[in-house]
């Protein structure tokens, strides 16, 4: 039996070459700046590297220490709380407001720009501004008192409240981005579906539940995915506002302190690997979920 060898003409070959050549810079960039450092970090996590000099191989010692480190358990718990907050509040607000805004035809762009604005403000600036708002002497508390709602005032950045206060600021910055993603998805929905539903006598909630949500399912899954992954690696707002003080310590702030303040880059590497591993699990889980949904 003769084997059929696919014959490629010159044009196809050129196309293949061009495709490979186009991907090459991104691949090289990814290889040099993501894959290689990741491999290096994995190796560092198995050493006692202080971030400066030589690395002595110590096996799984860093991981064993990590599993018993109360700071790690607290930080990981805080990341999970952070994730729970971000999976609910900004996504719900984004969906509801997106649904409401999708019906607005006049000034939609203006609304979109206004809601998106916080996203373009740098974390350092927004964090500093909100830290001032949380000041006990002239911030939100003073406003609350003036409004006769003194019972609501508290020390917003104290260890008991810091995590939620900082998460609030990050959400303020984050949900506008989600809204833009959701609005783009909502605009892809065929208006005929809503018209038919209206003719059938469906209410707004029924339209949201039976038309909107199923149609933007893929976008919502993507949003949940990035929210979960970013919740594991979030850093800027916490660092700017509390420096990861007790009560708001996250894996990333713990990592930074170990790498740059305690001269324990190997140990910091093990935290980074845990973050990578959790992110990988999330990606894998979502990959399977998406496949299931597509099937």
């Amino acid at each position: 039996m003769k084997t059929m060898i696919p014959v490629r003409n010159d044009r196809e070959k050129r196309r293949m070459l061009l495709a490979t050549f186009s991907i090459l810079p991104i691949f090289l960039y990814h290889f040099g700046f993501i894959i290689m450092p990741s491999i290096r970090t994995m190796y560092s996590s198995l050493t006692n590297w202080n971030g400066l000099g030589t690395r002595d191989f110590i096996g799984m010692d860093n991981y064993l220490e990590l599993m018993q480190d109360p700071n790690f358990i607290t930080a990981f718990g805080n990341n999970l709380k952070w994730m729970a907050l971000f999976l609910t509040i900004p996504i719900c607000i984004g969906i509801i407001l997106g649904f409401a805004l999708s019906g607005v035809t006049r000034g939609r762009l203006l609304f979109r720009a206004i809601y998106f604005l916080p996203y373009v403000i740098s974390a350092a600036i927004a964090g500093k501004i909100f830290a001032s708002f949380f000041n006990p002497y002239f911030g939100i508390n003073v406003v609350l008192k003036a409004m006769g709602m003194d019972f609501l005032s508290r020390d917003w950045l104290s260890p008991g409240n810091a995590l939620f206060s900082v998460a609030f600021v990050d959400m303020w910055h984050w949900w506008g981005f989600l809204l833009v993603l959701l609005l783009s998805a909502l605009q892809q929905i065929d208006p005929m579906l809503y018209e038919s539903a209206t003719l059938e006598g469906a209410g707004e909630v029924q339209k949201l539940w039976h038309i909107t949500l199923p149609c933007i399912k893929q976008t919502i899954i993507f949003i949940i995915l990035i929210t979960m992954v970013w919740s594991i690696s979030t850093f800027e707002y916490v660092w700017v506002m509390t420096r990861g003080s007790p009560g708001s310590e996250l894996l990333s702030t713990m990592l930074y302190k170990n790498a740059y303040m305690k001269y324990r880059a190997g140990y910091a590497g093990s935290i980074a690997v845990v973050q990578m591993f959790v992110s990988f699990l999330i990606f894998a889980g979502f990959g399977m979920l998406r496949k299931r949904l597509e099937d």
Binding site: L52, G53, N135, G160, S245, P246, K257, A259, M261, K262
Partner: protein, 444 residues
């Protein structure tokens, strides 16, 4: 067209990489990099002028063609990363002798002993500071600043409460002053650690040093029989916690107040005392004369009968030279030049760190009176050896971070004092075992 774009993009990428690699136009490695951690424009401008002057002088004297690359804002995170790479600056700043210890352990610092001897650094630099510049008897750094912790007080509030700062020298008088201030609606001691967790460390630096200087020295050095979890340190932490519980320390809000909030609240007349470093004239300089005159400076009162009030001392940071520099002579020329009286007088008058050298007294004349008082305290403490030990200058790094992070959990009742001190002991011993070499000058 596509080809041109592609070639253009490649050229752009290559020029970017070339720029990042730090080569100069003609490819010669005659660029000398000085990298500093300062971020304020005025300070950077002065530094750059001074370094440029030295490089020009050197070029003229030795007929060389060096050009200066001055890089500012290089904090410890950036320096650590750069020193573990091939892109090392020639001269750079680090924060403390504890950092020098780490860098020297890995052979990253140039041994400058021969240069130090040749240029007689020992004759200019204070003995204690010179000892901090050494690891295993070799000179590996040059301290660029010296500082101590003091208490600022509001003169008006002090008067209103019928208190005399000269009488507040012991625990009883200090607690009485704090109670009076709290009863009158003032915050006894202002402290802001929300953006600056090190503020907790400032106070602990004072209190541990006041517990007993020899005790601290021996404990850090891991001498037999000395542990952090001993009765004197336990008593000190209990005292600190009791002040916190009574609302004496920033009204229990230090970790919701930024350093700006703390200084504004103090200057605004909300607090009797404010813990400060002698490095802080830059806070005073922008104030008008009337506001400045309200601020008095004193040593923290004693907290027990064994240790008298003293000044916990630190070097503000250190100049280091990379072990791999190809321009050792120029580096030594610059560091020696920095010890010049005219240079230090310029730094002093600009509110910058001053090297631990015998600066001529006339250089202090133009300073604000309160700043002069602070400098008198520092220089007086040095002259009679009555200095103590700040955490950032003398403690091993991991122990140091735990010291100020763990205390918040103690104050919040999430961690027992025994557990806190035991963990400090564990970390201190671990770091000694890992090669940390304490360099702690003896005090009197």
């Amino acid at each position: 067209m596509k080809k041109f774009i592609l070639v253009g993009a490649c050229l752009l990428l290559m020029s970017g990489l070339g720029f990042a690699a730090g080569t100069n136009d003609d490819g010669k490695a005659q660029v000398f990099e000085v990298s500093v951690n300062t971020t304020k424009d005025e300070q950077n401008k002065l530094y750059e002028t001074v370094f440029q002057r030295f490089v020009d002088e050197y070029n003229k004297k030795y007929n060389t063609g060096y050009s200066l690359r001055f890089v500012s804002g290089q904090g410890m995170d950036i320096i650590n990363t750069r020193m573990s790479s091939k892109d090392k600056p020639d001269i750079f700043t680090i924060d403390s002798p504890a950092d020098a210890n780490q860098f020297a352990k890995d052979g990253l610092l140039l041994d400058m002993t021969d240069y130090a001897v040749k240029n007689k650094w020992k004759e200019s630099v204070f003995d204690w500071a010179y000892s901090l510049a050494q690891v295993n008897g070799r000179v590996v750094a040059l301290p660029y600043g010296y500082e101590g912790m003091v208490l600022w007080y509001n003169k008006d509030i002090m008067k209103e409460l019928g208190l005399n700062p000269a009488d507040i020298t012991n625990l009883e008088a200090y607690e009485n002053a704090m109670k009076k201030a709290a009863d009158a609606g003032y915050i006894p001691v202002m402290l802001g650690s929300q953006d600056w967790p090190w503020a907790q460390e400032w106070y602990l630096s004072i209190l541990y040093s006041y517990t007993g200087r020899n005790l601290v020295k021996n404990t850090i050095e891991g001498k037999p029989g000395f542990t952090w979890n001993s009765a004197p340190f336990r008593k000190t932490v209990e005292l600190y916690k009791s002040w916190h519980d009574r609302g004496y320390l920033a009204d229990k809000r230090s970790y919701v107040l930024t350093s700006d909030d703390a200084i504004n609240a103090f200057v605004g007349g909300k607090a009797l005392f404010k813990l400060e470093g002698t490095w802080a004239p830059y806070w005073m300089m922008p104030l008008d004369a009337a506001e400045r005159d309200k601020i008095g400076v004193m040593l923290h009162p004693a907290i027990n009968s064994t240790e008298r009030p003293h000044l916990p001392l630190a070097v503000g940071g250190m100049w280091c030279v990379s072990a791999t520099t190809a321009h050792k002579d120029l580096a030594a020329y610059i560091l020696t030049g920095l010890l010049g009286q005219d240079i230090q007088a310029d730094f002093l008058n600009n509110g910058m760190d001053v090297a631990p050298i015998k600066v001529e007294k006339s250089s202090f004349n133009g300073l604000i009176p309160t700043v002069q008082v602070m400098w008198n305290m520092v220089n007086g403490a040095l002259a009679d050896g009555s200095f103590g030990y700040t955490t950032w200058a003398f403690y091993p790094p991991e122990t140091r971070v735990y010291l100020y992070e763990g205390i918040v959990n103690v104050l919040e009742n999430k961690l027992g004092i025994d557990q806190y001190l035991t963990q400090m002991d564990v970390l201190n011993k671990k770091e000694l075992a890992q090669g940390f070499i304490p360099v702690i000058p003896a005090s009197k």
